[in-house]
Subunit: 457 residues, 2 copies
């Protein structure tokens, strides 16, 4: 483990990458893949909101500008804490003046390296994350003074033990259940313990005042995202699903204050579009809710395939979606430090991840979101070998069918090997949604006709 | 869910199976597979201990005699509690005069049924267990008044939610960590809660006296198994690995008192064999430790392949092996009911399952067992898609290599599709062990020769 200190950040990217210990040759190879994909997935879209330009420029220099900022913070004595999950209580990190990052790997590239140590039959997110670290392919990983894992699944839990051999790693103990006092208490204690860990690492006391400010900051980030999502309920929808996915993905990397500002600006533009009835897809285009496992950069293939099939993604029940921002930490009646921690613990325990048993709330969420966003159908997205989300599909599928909402399950990895099959399945699904909408419209028209003739008789 | 009551047990098997609601046609098909496999795997062996006959006869009427006994207990008002894991605190069940069974599925047969609901990419044990229940193919499952799951892995945890739709199911909350007070406390509280659940189900109070007697019974079962295992340290080994596996597997089904008696009789015979230097494999045959996931009836293929390759399995670091019986519940200084529960909780938390993080104790166990049983090599056995045991292999492999102990990993399911590949890999491994032993013997002889010539100079 090399402790990179006082990295010069007023240099070109390659010099910077060398300083932080990246494997330059392979990193060049990795980065060369991104521009054509980004062009095809994002830049080829028509009539995007203007404010999306900020996120475009962020991703176009993903391993440059922002990592340099992060290293500049390190130069100034701030610590960097990386994590892999929405359960990461980032408020403490902000409160300690440290930098929180969520580092889940979304790329196929480092997976072959990871498979020298991890089993092949493991979730691509786990393999990609591990591969990025052990192969020195990511400046964000290089910046982390501490990685924070969590016990959401067996694959991650055991991977973190191995990751801990490369960089200091703490694994948050998230219980399997959340509906009884003893489980909740375990989590509250764990959140409290994590506060101490952040304080010890940074050498900075997290005062109530600082924590309140950090909670407010994280809440404002959540509210800005919720504001963007809210505009997607309109028809036509003012922004594509993949553009929102990009925003969500960058929420995990960007400076929080700046991200809040930029995202509120985007929301404002989108609200104006909704007022004007301006959309990125024609009014009446089939509306899809995506539900399931998270999608991290550059994992855009399902959104891309859906939207190139003529449908539009209107919301994501996902950790790169509603699960990340829906609940706020409510500090209203919190009068003590313990109260604040309790409220934080409660907020995180409300994330309805498939790691919990039972998890009926998530099933209700999916149905409710499908209604709220007027989804015509649901694409259930599972990262390969994710037992929790994969098995929970049985209940979700039944609930959606009961409500008359069509659903398909896509289980995939980060490779392009199933691109053709995926395209066929999704196109067929979208055609089915279109046909169903046309029938619905016809029967409504007919019903209207009958009503008209009845009232006219 | 049908509540089967007052089943007649003085009838032939088919009548019995009809009464308990089995799908007779498919059950016949399932049962027709067993005899030829049992013949090939077990009965074809030479020079088996005489006392193994008891276990042979048990398995040859696996769905007859013992399930009838269990239903006879039900006729007398006793409850039946099924479980799927070594963490199941069976002492409470004995203490309440109920029947504990461990019902993990080991057969391929019901998996296709399970895959209509569960994901294909899930561990075969999970799919088989679920399939046995939903397809009415197992009289033991039919007898259960309550099923007890546990949170050892994501696949099982989520499967139990679905299983609960067919039969009342309680999921024991086993924490992810065990080395801190809050985790241990959660488990102690869970064990206490489970005692109440057993009392409520059976309508019988678990007094301290009854619990002590039950703890003693379970301890005697563990000691009898340990006694059998202890004889396997001898060379030649007095019993084949697959015969011991059979004994282990039946420990989960048989009446405990009878099992203790029969297993001590077997141990006595084995101890006499060791004294006489009598074995089932030639002295000097390569000795294999199997480490990993459990093997339940009729999952015998890895043992069978190893032993047909000319090696002998001398121990199993497994839940159908040492993890099941190594620790006893120590009641010596337990003066209160809470003390007894605490000791039970502690015993179960000592099971070094890969579900825990960290789990360094298991790595130490594997190395220690390999030494204690003089293993020449280790076969690391992983049920397909078991992330916990699969990922933990990285650490185990490294520890064994450091100790100079050869190891291979076998990841497989219940099908026969990889039988050929498995055979080739295992045969190659065994040949390598033989060659290594021969080299070791030659170099020892040479060393002896040098010493002799030195001392003779």
């Amino acid at each position: 483990m090399t402790d990179v200190q006082k990295v010069r950040t007023d240099v070109d990217n390659e010099t910077f990458w060398r300083q932080v210990g990246l494997d330059i040759e392979r990193h060049d190879e990795l980065m060369s893949v991104l521009p054509p994909v980004f062009q095809s997935v994002f830049l080829s879209q028509q009539n995007r909101p203007e404010k999306i330009a900020y996120y475009d420029s962020f991703i176009q220099d993903l391993h440059g500008k922002r990592p340099k900022e992060v290293f500049e913070r390190k130069n100034n004595g701030d610590k960097v804490i990386g994590a892999f999950c929405a359960f990461f209580p980032e408020e403490f990190v902000h409160a300690a003046g440290a930098v929180p990052l969520i580092l889940c790997g979304g790329a196929e590239f480092p997976i072959a390296d990871a498979e020298k140590i991890l089993p092949r039959n493991t979730c691509p997110l786990i393999k990609s994350s591990f591969g990025f670290k052990i192969s020195n392919l990511c400046p964000y990983f290089q910046s982390a003074d501490l990685l924070v894992g969590e016990t959401t699944c067996g694959g991650k839990k055991k991977m973190y033990e191995l990751l801990g051999e490369y960089v200091p790693t703490y694994v948050l103990h998230l219980p399997h259940k959340k509906n009884d006092d003893i489980s909740r208490n375990l989590w509250v204690e764990e959140v409290k313990k994590f506060k101490g860990i952040v304080e010890d690492l940074t050498g900075r006391k997290i005062t109530d005042e600082k924590l309140r400010a950090a909670i407010d900051l994280a809440n404002r980030k959540r509210l800005a995202l919720a504001r963007v999502y809210n505009t997607r309920k309109a028809d036509p929808v003012p922004i594509s699903g993949k553009d929102v996915l990009l925003v969500m993905q960058l929420a995990l990397f960007d400076d929080a204050e700046r991200f809040v500002k930029k995202t509120n600006e985007l929301a404002e533009e989108l609200e104006a579009r909704v007022k004007r009835g301006e959309g990125v897809a024609p009014k009446g285009a089939p509306r899809v809710l995506i539900s399931g496992t998270p999608m991290t950069i550059p994992n855009w293939k399902v959104h891309d395939t859906i939207e190139k099939s003529g449908a539009v993604v209107v919301t994501e029940e996902s950790c790169t979606g509603t699960r990340y921002f829906t609940d706020l930490v409510d500090t209203k009646d919190a009068s003590s430090s313990d109260d604040l921690i309790l409220r934080m613990a409660e907020k995180y325990l409300h994330i309805n991840c498939a790691c919990f048993t039972p998890n009926e709330e998530r099933i209700e969420d999916v149905v409710r979101l499908a209604r709220e966003y007027n989804a015509d159908g649901v694409v259930y997205y599972v990262l390969q070998f994710c037992h929790e989300f994969n098995t929970e599909y049985a209940k979700i599928e039944r609930a959606l069918r009961t409500e008359g909402i069509p659903v398909i399950k896509i289980e995939t990895d980060y490779s392009d090997s199933d691109r053709g099959q995926l395209k066929t399945r999704i196109e067929t699904f979208v055609e089915m949604l279109k046909a169903s909408k046309a029938r619905g419209a016809a029967s409504l028209a007919e019903e209207g006709g009958i009503k008209a003739s009845v009232s006219g008789s």
